[in-house]
Symmetry: C2
Subunit: 352 residues, 2 copies
């Protein structure tokens, strides 16, 4: 089966590019003595999680418990869930997961730690908890190294918990400030007799300069496996590295300047990028996808020397690939132009 | 089962609001002698498609063939697919669908009509084709009333096709220009002996002034069933009408001004609205959802007199509900605070 045999829109993943992207990260991490713990939110596929482990990753990262359960069901046995887990229902699920794999979670407040402490009480199999640190991204995380120390102490106290280190999702381009933040937290922890076993940073934009965060022992890249327009705009690699594309058909040419594709925000996702447009059309690099409605892309082809015709198929690199994986039920794995395999997206929709 | 028993994030649909929204549209359409053909892209549920028909709709609208196949599998037998259907694979699927239900499609080019004419050749069961008209929205559609006439003639010629009328998805607020456009096209068609049986306009923002488009015989509202922040910003109803909410948990309060919810763009969708923020929090109307990452909402609670606590549950009205239905595998139907039913989203992901 070839791409010509596929109905559109269809999500294609180039296996050679995937392999090259994974190896580039593996080589960098090896060279700098960093462990990798890839974030599977980008691909949500057991196949690629296994490949990441085969290439030396120490485990995987999941954002949601539902993703972790799906990966554990597929045999992945070392998972960090980089999320505050709260409430009786989720804590019961967390306990069930803890019983069957090597599991770690994070916390950024006393409330979250208290929940873990109440649900995990066995000192023979304590739950590993990392302190999430806000080193500038302005999302979750304790606000200062001193607060990190304080929360680490709260984690270290109950018999069923184990303080396992620090975790941050640092802002893009801020390796220096993140380095200073984590180094100070590490100093405080060591002085208090709580040296962090793991210091985990993440994000594809800074993947290839992760070593600038000197105290980091582990890195959690996600998007690097496929890459996308956003990553390229941020300086990570080139459009050549983008492994995931959406195969679409030109369904209308209402005017000389306008083309309409059969993929909208329900496939390409509405995420914007630091560059104009809603995706890059491989065959028409001068075209600009001006807007997406749910099932249409409206494309300005005025700058294209040759214009696409009705029925013509084109491939689009999305602005942001992670939501694309989460929109489709299956992806088509390509070897050249041949479809090697069609895979269900194992953890699609597992946001709970 | 009650909302308190649900794990978060969870999509809730208030059945009383749904019924009120459907009846308001039905009453308006009845009063003005308009047929309704609701667009199911918003809910993607057989249950609500059936309810819309029970309330007098003449049929339903689908954007993609995959949605129409799903609805036909569930027993819906009158469907307009408002999309140019192109290519051998899709035309074969269209023929299979045509064999079992009352089906109509649209075309906006000679290429699309030629495809239909080649695939449908039985004069005893011709395929109904409407001419899609661009009355200002700048997406698909022929550009002038004269072009509509020309394409209508091309549809009327082959024995296996039947010219069934005109279809537009008009720009929001442009009932007057749409009215003028369609009236002129109608005049040309009547003069040529091709009076349009159906003139179909659409879009929730203008639903309650659809009669201003005097030549319209049918209206295709979609979002009206749930409504959302975008519709309210455009002047359609109030936040009280919004039937779909996302139940979330406050998972972090990193600073006095910041709260983090466990729903990001993978549940709420990244669509922006003509008002600031990424959703309206019912319990904290002064809060602003500043940004969404994939699984987090970052909320500014500085303007809230009382601030949400960690573990507290809040409900969010999304900016745009249609992509939300398409992100989740199931929705929870509410009667008051009680979950009456949990439904799989039948046509989720059917973008092909």
């Amino acid at each position: 089966m070839y791409t010509a045999d596929l109905d559109t829109p269809a999500v294609l993943v180039d296996l050679e590019k995937v392999e090259r992207n994974l190896r580039r990260a593996r080589d960098y991490a090896e060279r700098h003595g960093l462990s990798l713990r890839p974030h599977i939110k980008t691909h949500k596929l057991l196949r690629f999680a296994r490949r990441q482990l085969d290439l030396g990753a120490r485990g995987i990262t999941c954002q949601k418990l539902g993703e972790a359960e799906c990966m554990a069901d597929g045999g992945i046995d070392d998972i960090l869930v980089t999320y505050n887990i709260l409430g009786a229902a989720k804590l019961a699920r967390l306990a069930a997961l803890h019983a069957r794999i090597r599991l770690a979670v994070v916390a950024d407040s006393r409330e979250v730690v208290d929940g873990y402490a109440a649900a995990f009480t066995d000192p023979r199999k304590p739950l590993s908890v990392l302190v999430e640190c806000d080193t500038g991204a302005g999302r979750c995380g304790v606000q200062t190294p001193a607060a990190a120390l304080e929360l680490a102490k709260a984690i270290a106290a109950p018999p069923g918990l184990r303080f396992a280190g620090l975790m941050t999702y640092q802002p893009q381009g801020a390796t220096a400030t993140t380095d200073a933040w984590l180094a100070e937290a590490r100093r405080l922890l060591c002085a208090a007799g709580l040296p962090p076993e793991t210091v985990s940073a993440g994000g594809t934009p800074d993947l290839l300069r992760a070593a600038e965060i000197s105290s980091a022992t582990e890195y959690r890249p996600g998007t690097y496996i496929y890459s996308d327009r956003m990553q390229v705009a941020w300086g990570h690699g080139t459009l050549e590295d983008c492994a995931l594309t959406v195969l679409t058909t030109v369904v209308s040419r209402p005017t000389a300047e306008r083309a309409i594709l059969d993929a909208g925000s329900k496939v390409l996702a509405a995420d914007t990028a630091p560059v104009p447009g809603h995706g890059h059309i491989l065959e028409f690099p001068d075209a600009v996808i001006r807007s997406l409605s749910e099932e249409h892309a409206t494309v300005d082809v005025s700058a294209c020397p040759h214009k696409p015709g009705i029925g013509e198929r084109v491939r689009v690199i999305p602005n942001h690939v992670c939501p694309v994986s989460n929109l489709v039920d299956r992806v088509h794995l390509l070897r050249g132009d041949r479809i090697e395999e069609i895979l269900p997206v194992d953890a699609r929709g597992r946001s709970t």
